[in-house]
Amino acid sequence: MITGPAGDARQLPMRPTGAMDMLSIEGLTIALVRRNGNVSVLRNVDLAIAPGQAVGLVGESGSGKSMTALAVMRLLPRGARILSGKVLLEGQDLVDLPESEMSSVRGRIVSMISQDPLTALNPAFTIERQLTDALRAHRALVRRAARERAAELLALVGIPSPRSRLSAYPHEFSGGMRQRVAIAMAVACEPKLLIADEPTTALDVTIQAQVIALIERLRRDMNLSVLFISHNLDLVAEICDRVTVMYAGSVVEADTAEAIFRAPRHPYTRELLRCIPRLAGDAGPLPTIPGSPPRFGADLAGCPFAPRCSLAETRCRSEAPRLRTENERRLSCWVAP
């Protein structure tokens, strides 16, 4: 366990040995099944979230972040199939769970918010209807009680005059307010795990800060576990206890947030961190990672990052590195120390 230099004030939820993880993904491999063969999208992904912990999942688009989230929700796109691995939610494997049971898991134990809250909200129904649907299904609340709870939820996510806003439609809210409504829906049945897939990417920075503060507050008050998916590393650093970095469908590095940001070891993690535009940065060309991530289905002999890696050796191009484990760190690289 690595703590900050000034003594870490926050109680980092530690994983007591033997205690069950909220979520544990083990060796998850997913492929798109096509007529002319399988296209691999996730390879052997491991990820664990302890109760109350926030884990960040970062990587470029196409790295498999969202696919991982959708696998947990069991909402994989048509054609995507879990070839091997486990998705253990409180110890229960979701991979082969019948759909009828899965639908009682969604919303009640795990729920998800996405980048675009408009896709989560039905434009034809009032906010009340959408909030109470889940409550009446999972909690068997009668209409009046559900309405009360819905108003409470809107207040919880910081929507002014919640009672009168219940009868509003999604289009009457601004982007930030919609995301708050989507969050209210997601936490309506007090799930234990919230998956936030790029929840603030479509929002302005000032609104982003508010939504992040909201997620952080809910996490504290409701002891939520959070899987926070983002390509914004600075944001991940602010709120996550642990970080998993993915590249081309594989985990390349995972550790505590402190360790990842203060002492990154995988060349890809280092490059990603170097690319964040900073206010303190000098004028002049922005740092970049040359090349682009491999396309889906590209033949990946060796390390997928090798073609863009300045440290790559002959071995990196021919043989895929295995995920090494040292204390809290997971690292998949031949050359990184």
Partner: protein, 339 residues
């Protein structure tokens, strides 16, 4: 400012009429929304002018007015000393050629049914390049934006986001423009690719002597590349100045809020733990007042009733804020008394 400006906007206003009920229409009281409330600015040749603001602030409306894709409700657009506000039809074509726009979403700005070679070829044809030399010029354009000639036969959907944005840039260069307006050109790209596209734009500006208006909500990027930054809020200029001044000594509370809102990485963890201090006054301003009032922590009584006039704080630094103006005149008085 010695060089004469390339582009001048004088008191640009844009009002959108909103749909009104029958009664309101009969009474002639149609509700309207002021997207831009009097924007005056000038852009120097060869400059990278950064335009920052949140969604709904009027950034894109302003960009479209400059590109003459939208007509302003009032005010004038002056290019190289010539009025272009009222130009229509054929008379507008030379201006359209010199001022090119690059959009955020290259997916929707490139025709999905045309190959890249044809997309670029059509742009060249529009400039009047002969059929015979189009092939060579197309390849040259691709080379300029760092793409190979193998792109010619591809369709937009076959390209990655970064490659598509390069094609959009190549298409705008086909017109041999003088002024590029890039409206959030990298917002939909990954960080690792953002740098590539921005560096390309900067390199083009240098090598081809282009002027760039760069619109973004990312202060860190804008700061890095711009010679001047203008912050707009609710259709008004709230602050304008050189990047270092604006970011190290922001005068407007909104500029400060933008800086504070940027994620701070590992250093921001304490802030999250403490919770953010947000004490906005939450008072509604009259339409004549400062639009930032409801979110402002430094609001004065006057802010609710009168929009602050733009005040020059230094040669290149201006702000429209009653509080900042008060602070500036107080410190000026202090200096006088000391002297």
């Amino acid at each position: 400012m010695s060089a004469s400006p390339l582009l001048e906007l004088v008191d640009i206003r844009k009002t959108y009429r909103l749909r009104a009920g029958l009664l309101a229409r009969l009474l002639g009281r149609e509700p309207a929304f002021d997207a831009l409330g009097g924007i005056t600015l000038s852009v120097l040749p060869g400059e990278v002018f950064g335009l920052v603001g949140e969604s709904g602030s009027g950034k894109s409306t302003l960009a479209k007015i400059i590109a003459r894709l939208l007509a302003p409700t009032a005010g004038s657009v002056v290019y190289r000393g010539e009025q272009v506000t009222a130009l229509e039809g054929r008379a507008l074509l030379p201006y359209r050629r010199r001022v090119q726009m690059i959009f955020q979403d290259s997916h929707s700005s490139l025709n999905p049914r045309k190959r890249i070679g044809r997309i670029l070829g059509e742009a060249l044809a529009a400039r009047g390049v002969s059929r015979a030399s189009r092939g060579r010029e197309t390849e040259h354009l691709l080379e300029t934006v760092g793409l190979g000639r193998f792109m010619l036969g591809r369709y937009p959907h076959e390209l990655s986001g970064g490659q598509r944005q390069r094609v959009s840039i190549a298409r705008s260069l086909a017109m041999e423009p003088e002024l590029l307006i890039a409206d959030e050109p990298v917002s939909s790209l990954d960080v690792s690719l953002q740098g590539q596209i921005i560096n390309l734009l900067m390199q083009l500006c240098r090598n081809l002597g282009l002027t760039l208006i760069f619109i973004s909500h990312d202060l860190a990027v804008v700061k890095r590349i711009s010679s001047r930054i203008m912050v707009i809020y609710a259709g008004r200029i709230v602050e304008c100045g050189p990047p270092d001044t604006l970011l190290n000594a922001p005068a407007h509370p909104y500029t400060q809020a933008l800086i504070d809102a940027l994620p701070k990485g590992i250093a921001g963890r304490d802030r999250q733990r403490r919770g953010r201090d947000a004490a906005p006054s939450a008072t509604e301003a009259k339409p004549s007042g400062c639009p930032f009032l409801p979110r402002c922590a430094r609001a004065l009584a006057i802010c609710g009733s009168r929009f602050p006039e733009t005040m020059q704080l230094a040669e290149n630094h201006s702000v429209a804020c009653h509080f900042a103006a008060g602070a500036a005149s107080a410190s000026a008085k202090g200096i006088e008394q000391e002297g």
